[in-house]
């Protein structure tokens, strides 16, 4: 069984991002970039399925600028077998990403596509569900446990009040939640090996996809800042102030 794992290059989650002074977006020049953390969980899950003998090949796909190849290399070092880079400098919104991934899936014919549940830059949480819709596949979003058995899989999902378990026929889409697994660090030998793994380069036009954005960002502003309040000296003072000053208890 082949697994496709889309991986996104995003501003590293440890970076304190800043809104550009002209309000056109977030400052990304000279900022450390990494693989979206939820996509690391997706790669890890695919590698574990291969280690269990469920998967035979893992293809990591990234869409965007040439440096996305580095993100693919990270996935290859974790255990993916080969990569596909769809290279463009155009802005790609989730609908366009889903269409490009559908075109790749049509070529590659994977049985399973595992994606992160959300990218930590645009926080849209949309691509996996949209790809499932375009392929006409069932979806199991926010997965915390995956068991594949023959032509079906059972997935436990993180929902608002707890957990929900669903059973889906393959091919299908999974999006990963935080507790699905803990991604491995790539070992040095695996990083060296990853350099030799192939990455195929494509362009959106090769895939026949119109990637024009449907959302125009008019401006990006800083969120309203909260001011630090006061320090209180004791629990008694805290309770008293919550009662008489803030009047919230």
């Amino acid at each position: 069984m082949k697994i496709l794992v889309p991986v996104k290059r995003v501003v590293d989650y440890n970076v304190k991002v800043r809104v550009k002074a002209d309000g056109s977006g977030i400052e990304t020049s000279g900022v450390k970039m990494s693989m979206n953390p939820f996509d690391e969980i997706a790669v890890e899950e695919a590698v574990r399925l291969k280690e269990k003998g469920v998967a035979t090949e893992i293809v990591a796909v990234s869409l965007g600028v040439a440096q996305c190849a580095e993100t693919i290399r990270t996935a290859l070092a974790m255990g993916a077998d080969r990569g596909i880079l769809v290279e463009t400098t155009d802005e790609l919104q989730p609908l366009a990403v889903a269409k490009l991934l559908k075109a790749i899936a049509d070529q590659e014919q994977p049985k399973l596509i595992i994606l992160g549940k959300q990218a930590i830059d645009d926080d849209m949480s949309a691509t996996g569900q949209m790809l499932a819709a375009l392929l006409g596949w069932p979806q199991a979003t926010f997965a915390s446990k995956v068991e594949v058995s023959g032509e079906t899989m059972t997935v436990t999902r993180e929902v608002d009040g707890g957990l929900e378990t669903v059973s889906l026929p393959l091919p299908a889409i999974i999006t990963t939640d935080l507790r699905l697994n803990e991604p491995r660090y790539a070992s040095l030998p695996n990083i060296m090996k990853a350099r030799k793994k192939p990455i195929d380069n494509k362009k959106p036009a090769d895939l026949g996809v119109d990637t024009a954005p449907r959302l125009t960002v008019l401006k990006v502003t800083e969120p309203p800042k909260r001011k630090a309040g006061q320090k209180v000296g004791s629990v008694a003072e805290l309770v008293s102030k919550l009662r008489t000053e803030a009047k919230v208890i």
């Binding site: 809104v19 919104q93 830059d121 707890g162 669903v166 959302l215 502003t221 309770v239």
Partner: protein, 311 residues
């Protein structure tokens, strides 16, 4: 211009985040709401009482039980021609279904809106709320999820809308519901609670959350947690407040043993009053707290319990 809002409900009626979605839709024009599921007549009646609602559509079908994404999205797509905007709360259900609807309609979804500027233009958080993006959609139909914490919910009653059955065609049901394991708690839901008390890595283990629970019960509060506490396995993921968990905006938020990572602040910084209890006076949480207490939580929590019991 008419919007259709997909509602979520339980035995107590229409959920608060869905009522916030109705509030957001009210800013766009007429509002119809959709109650979908199996044997949902009672929820349809509850929906009819919501203010600002012009019509309730009830889709009653075994295929819609548990609101699985494939049949529910197909239903929304079949109803979409009559509407300019399709909305749901940014909940596990809304996030699961609405992007699927959007792709089937060839529309870019607008996730987690925090404000309505006009019929095409919305404000939504990006980068864990470190930026607020104003975005304008060129799609003829908008598919939207609504950040409940940013819109005051409409009341649970006061309206009297007509209830109509929705036409339910053949719905795809490739996936099967197997089971649900929902936390049984007498406490309010995190996203609807007036008071939230959350514990972080400083709690040291799950057992110590028992120090928080009686205080939560005295205050009628929901219990939450930081991602660090969830990652460490102290409490289940549904407790998580933050960028990748739940977004809350209660009257009072009490952060106990939480340092205040950006991604946690993203989930609670719109709370009206924030209290931080942390032994590290340099902890970033104090920069957003209205009241900060530098103290060891293992002393402060029992003291807080005693202080609240005293009166």
């Amino acid at each position: 211009m008419t919007s259709l809002v997909l509602l979520e409900f339980d035995a107590n009626g229409i959920k608060q985040p869905s009522r916030s979605a109705v509030a957001a839709a009210s800013a766009l024009g007429d509002v119809h709401v959709l109650v979908a599921g199996s044997n949902v007549a009672a929820a349809g009646q509850a929906a009819a009482k919501l203010p600002n609602v012009a019509k309730v559509l009830v889709a009653d079908s075994p295929a819609l039980d548990h609101l699985l994404a494939e049949p529910t999205a197909a239903l929304l797509v079949s109803l979409a021609p009559a509407y300019s905007h399709l909305l749901a709360a940014t909940s596990a259900v809304g996030k699961n279904i609405m992007p699927r609807v959007a792709a089937l309609l060839d529309v870019q979804p607008i996730s987690d809106i925090a404000a309505v500027v006009d019929a095409d233009t919305f404000v939504r958080p990006i980068y864990a709320g470190n930026g607020m993006a104003t975005v304008k959609s060129s799609d003829s139909k908008k598919v939207i999820t609504v950040r409940a914490a940013s819109f005051d919910p409409v009341a649970a009653d006061g309206g009297n809308a007509p209830v109509e059955p929705a036409t339910v065609g053949d719905l795809p049901t490739p996936g099967k519901f197997v089971s649900a394991e929902l936390s049984k708690s007498e406490r309010p839901e995190l996203t609807a609670a007036r008071v939230v008390i959350s514990g972080g890595r400083g709690m040291q283990n799950g057992e110590n959350f028992k120090l928080i629970e009686p205080i939560a019960d005295m205050l009628g509060a929901a219990v939450g947690a930081s991602r660090a506490a969830v990652d460490a396995g102290f409490v289940p993921n549904e407790y998580q407040v933050g960028q990748t968990g739940k977004i809350v905006a209660p009257e009072l938020y009490v952060a106990v043993g939480i340092s205040g990572a950006i991604q946690h602040l993203a989930g609670m910084k719109d709370s009206k009053v924030i209290v931080a209890i942390n032994k590290d006076e340099e902890a970033p949480i104090f920069q957003v707290a209205d009241y900060g207490l530098v103290a060891d939580l293992f002393n402060a929590l029992p003291e807080l319990k005693a202080e609240l019991e005293r009166s």
